[in-house]
């Protein structure tokens, strides 16, 4: 097949209304969106009942600090993640340099390391009593902390660095997928029209990749805004700190829900602004997968510079913390043979696997009904709202999950008692179902993003062709769309899997009795400042995370057949 002229089709029109739809898609879409939105709605509802109006107090005291640190944190982490993620993605996709093939997947590895683990490890390494400062003191003969200046790792800068190290892979992942899909013809055209490689990157590749980068950036921002573990550890007074304070120290759950709701609204505004900004340039591409990428040949020194640039994030985001964990684990190898330990690993594995598949299914349902009803405003908004669970701190989301589940359980119980004199007790609360539900709500933004962006690129002509050939919507989905978006879908599944393995705050609150995952087991000790005692579990989280991460990289590379 030749590289067709129609490789990238920029269309401003939306899908035409398709007749003869199964009546189901609209209600299924709405129903699913509502179900996933329940916890978010519960938090909004909680916000209506504060025990006391906390805003006068906040406004006159710490609110400016909260807002300032949150903004610095978001802008800093976002900018750094985009710089690292997009930069390295472009290099490994379009340039030749030593180690390029290894970096393709190695750049994803930091993703397997939980933020709370990396924060702990770097503090250990860089604080006064850590090996780095001891070495410096030995070298220069300094005696105490007052003799020299060393950057404080427990600071907002430290938090930005830690979060960036584990979050930039989101941007890298999506940017790389987008660069890979881009047509070589476009680049060639731009080069022929006189663009330098840089100009071609800046004026052609980057704008085409923008939706993907935006999705990556919004994931990074939401993760940053909902993080509590790292910012708490580093004494950064962000909005999440304010939520916990109102909730646990002032006993005002309603006020905590208000702060959380405001944060969500802030995220919605941010994402909508970005959408509006690029609304007019919707792109449909049929990528020319069959032409191999011609990479830029670089001079030797430049090529080695690329190698250096790509190795830094891998070194600091993965190798150092990994070696450090492995080193600590050596003293506790016996844990690997502990039968409990195996149970925790099984729990983590099962929960993450089930959630990853379920979240993907939900994402497909939402994305497809959104596609079929492209002109239906309310459905579009509902589907977008269902991503908001990601912007809530895990513990707040857990409360949002508890409320509807307990309400359901208690209503069923009341009904059964009244009519059949049987007590059904709690059916869903405190079961693994509650955990899977919470994870789905939390990580739908991730799988949804992946599915949305790949489905968005499938031209509506495909639907029309398939439908005019007599296939109904379900069959079109099954036989046309699913095969086309396979790559994006698998990406979603794998990323959600890794995210679930690391999930902590919601798991702690919602889990059944006597139930541990690897993450909760790690936390039990880490929260008592004894991460050494649980380093094998932390190591296992990372090791298990590596497998999907490598699969992920292969999936993405495979989107472009190199035959």
């Amino acid at each position: 097949m030749s590289a067709t002229a129609e490789t990238t089709l920029t269309e401003s029109r939306t899908l035409p209304r398709l007749r003869g739809l199964l009546p189901g898609w609209y209600s299924i879409g709405w129903g699913t969106a509502l179900l996933v939105m329940l916890p978010v709605l519960a938090v909004l509802w909680l916000a209506l009942f504060p025990t006391e109006n906390i805003w006068p107090h906040l406004a006159s005291t710490v609110l400016p600090v909260y807002i300032k640190s949150t903004l610095i944190l978001m802008v800093g982490t976002g900018a750094l993640s985009v710089a690292i993620g997009v930069g390295t993605a472009w290099l490994v996709t379009l340039c030749h340099f030593p180690g390029r093939r290894v970096f393709e997947w190695a750049l994803l590895l930091p993703f397997a390391i939980p933020a709370y683990v990396i924060a702990y490890i770097y503090t250990d390494l860089l604080e006064y009593a850590g090996p780095v400062q001891i070495l410096l003191r030995d070298l220069f003969g300094w005696q105490t902390a007052r003799d020299y200046w060393f950057p404080e790792i427990r600071s907002i800068g430290g938090a930005i660095l830690m979060l960036t190290l584990v979050l930039y892979p989101y941007v890298y992942l999506l940017a790389r997928a987008s660069f890979l899909e881009q047509s070589m013809s476009i680049r060639d055209a731009s080069r022929m029209l006189g663009c330098s490689p840089w100009q071609s990157f800046y004026r052609v590749s980057l704008p085409i990749a923008r939706p993907a980068i935006a999705v990556g950036l919004s994931l990074v921002s939401m993760e940053t805004i909902n993080d509590f573990g790292t910012v708490d550890y580093f004494a950064v007074k962000s909005m999440s700190a304010g939520i916990y304070d109102a909730w646990l120290n002032m006993g005002n759950v309603g006020a905590a829900a208000q702060i959380a709701s405001l944060m969500m609204i802030f995220v919605v505004v941010l994402i909508s602004l970005e959408r509006v900004a690029r609304a007019k340039s919707r792109q449909y591409t049929s990528p020319d997968r069959y032409r191999t990428i011609e990479r830029y040949r670089l001079t030797k020194s430049r090529a080695w510079l690329c190698t250096l640039a790509c190795s830094l994030p891998v070194l600091f985001g993965f190798l150092l913390p990994f070696i450090s964990l492995a080193d600590m684990s050596l003293a506790h190898l016996d844990q690997f043979s502990d039968s409990n330990f195996l149970g925790f690993a099984t729990n983590s594995f099962t929960l993450s696997g089930v959630t990853a598949l379920l979240a993907a299914a939900i994402a497909i349902v939402l994305a497809y009904s959104k596609r079929l009803y492209a002109r239906n405003r309310s459905l579009q908004v509902a589907a977008r709202m269902s991503n908001l669970g990601y912007a809530l701190p895990g513990a707040v989301l857990a409360i949002g999950v508890i409320i509807p589940l307990a309400a359901f359980d208690n209503s069923v119980d009341a009904f059964m008692r009244e009519h059949f004199n049987i007590s059904t007790g709690l059916l869903l609360s405190g079961t693994p179902f509650a955990l899977v539900f919470a994870y789905c709500v939390r990580f739908l933004a991730v799988s949804g993003g992946a599915v949305d962006s790949s489905l968005g690129k499938v031209t509506p002509n495909m639907d029309m062709a398939s439908r005019s050939l007599g296939a109904n919507t379900l069959r079109t989905l099954k036989e046309v769309h699913l095969p086309l978006i396979r790559g994006g879908l698998l990406t979603g599944v794998l990323v959600v899997f890794v995210d679930c393995m690391k999930e902590l705050p919601a798991t702690l609150i919602l889990r059944p009795f006597n139930y541990d995952t690897l993450a909760t087991y790690v936390y039990q000790y880490a929260s008592d400042e004894q991460i050494e005692s649980c380093s094998p579990a932390a190591l296992l989280i990372v090791l298990v995370g590596i497998i999907p991460v490598i699969l992920l990289s292969r999936t993405i590379t495979a989107t472009r057949a190199s035959r």
């Binding site: 902390a145 427990r154 004494a235 120290n249 508890i402 307990a406 007590s423 009795f513 006597n514 008592d528």
Partner: protein, 339 residues
């Protein structure tokens, strides 16, 4: 006679199988590994199984929304905060037990029995051995003295242990005076409040500061830490100061228990609390974490006996301190303690 014996045997057999099936469900704010030896001892003695969910936040909300159908019988906490909140939100029921009333002094339990202290700890001032003369500081109030400018370290003012300390200052001196005090302490800080209690002591060793606030049990945890032996050095760099020995005594906090309002197994739950107040468990519980038993005349662990015995603890009822925690959190904001 034989028949009577036989039926008694059958009866006791049925009873014990019944007891086997008995269980207590615990929502715990404390790490399971700290509780485990105790709970195992309880199961061994009574045959009652104990199930645990551990989380430091969110369990009160879970209890509240589960309502009458909650499986939880008991709350176990690591300080007064959640006990007080649970009482305020009407989530717990009074425990009526002569054993508990006998074993636990009044200031360590709610007057109506809605919470019970199980172990206690003191909030100490750790003072540098090299740079602070013994007796140079003897009260919390003196932490605001300008002579300590740039020499004090503490974790976040919002941490629950500090909130309770500030709450006790409010109880003794009122809000206005406490605010002034807190401002004074803030002005003396060597660095922005950060880290945990142990890292404050480490900061003393490192020369970052000369005084630090920290709970008493961290001394034991550091001084005996075989996993990270460098912590022994941190502990060795500081003297322990028990503040306010000449007046009200050192501020104390507790770990404790409360019975949930809709507990499905209230008898078994009370049995567990009673068990935890008995000498054997008190000794075990306190030793597990270098805390003090709350039951009078229970022997202390050797290390505590050597380093800490004979101090005077503040006997104000902890409920009063719990009630001041929200006000304390606001004061921390007001003076910008953590900024």
């Amino acid at each position: 006679m034989k028949k009577a014996l036989l039926s008694a045997a059958v009866l006791s057999a049925t009873f014990s199988t019944f007891a086997q099936a008995e269980e207590v469900n615990v929502y715990s704010f404390r790490q399971e590994f700290l509780l485990k030896p105790l709970l195992e001892a309880f199961t061994e003695e009574t045959g009652i199984k104990v199930n645990v969910v551990f989380s430091k936040s969110g369990l009160l909300e879970r209890l509240e929304h589960e309502g009458q159908n909650t499986p939880a019988d008991l709350l176990l906490t690591a300080d007064i905060g959640p006990l007080y909140d649970a009482t305020e939100r009407d989530l717990v029921a009074p425990i009526k037990s002569d054993i508990i009333e006998q074993n636990i002094p009044e200031h360590f339990r709610a007057t109506d029995g809605r919470w019970v202290g199980l172990t206690s700890r003191a909030r100490l001032i750790y003072a540098s051995k090299d740079r602070v003369e013994p007796g140079e500081i003897t009260t919390y109030e003196e932490l605001a003295d300008p002579k300590w400018k740039g020499r004090i370290c503490t974790r976040s003012g919002k941490h629950t242990y500090n909130l309770s300390l500030i709450g006790s200052m409010i109880a003794h001196h009122g809000e206005a005076e406490t605010e002034q005090w807190l401002e004074g302490v803030k002005a003396n800080l060597a660095q922005k409040p950060q880290g945990n209690d142990r890292s404050q002591v480490k900061a003393i060793m490192e020369g970052v500061c000369d005084l630090a606030l920290g709970n008493s049990y961290y001394y034991g945890k550091m001084a005996t830490n075989e996993d990270e032996p460098e912590q022994k050095e941190w502990a060795a760099s500081a003297n322990l100061v028990f503040p306010n020995q000449d007046d009200r005594g050192t501020h104390m906090n507790i770990s404790g228990a409360a019975l949930t309002k809709y507990a499905p197994h209230p008898e078994a739950a009370v049995k567990l609390v009673e068990f935890l107040t008995q000498e054997k468990a008190q000794k075990l519980y306190a030793e597990a974490n270098f805390e003090f038993p709350v039951r009078p005349n229970t022997p202390w662990s050797e290390l505590l006996e050597e380093k800490m015995s004979g101090f005077k603890g503040d006997e104000i009822n902890l409920g009063e301190i719990g009630a001041n925690r929200a006000a304390a959190a606001k004061l921390v904001d007001k003076v910008g303690f953590d900024n």
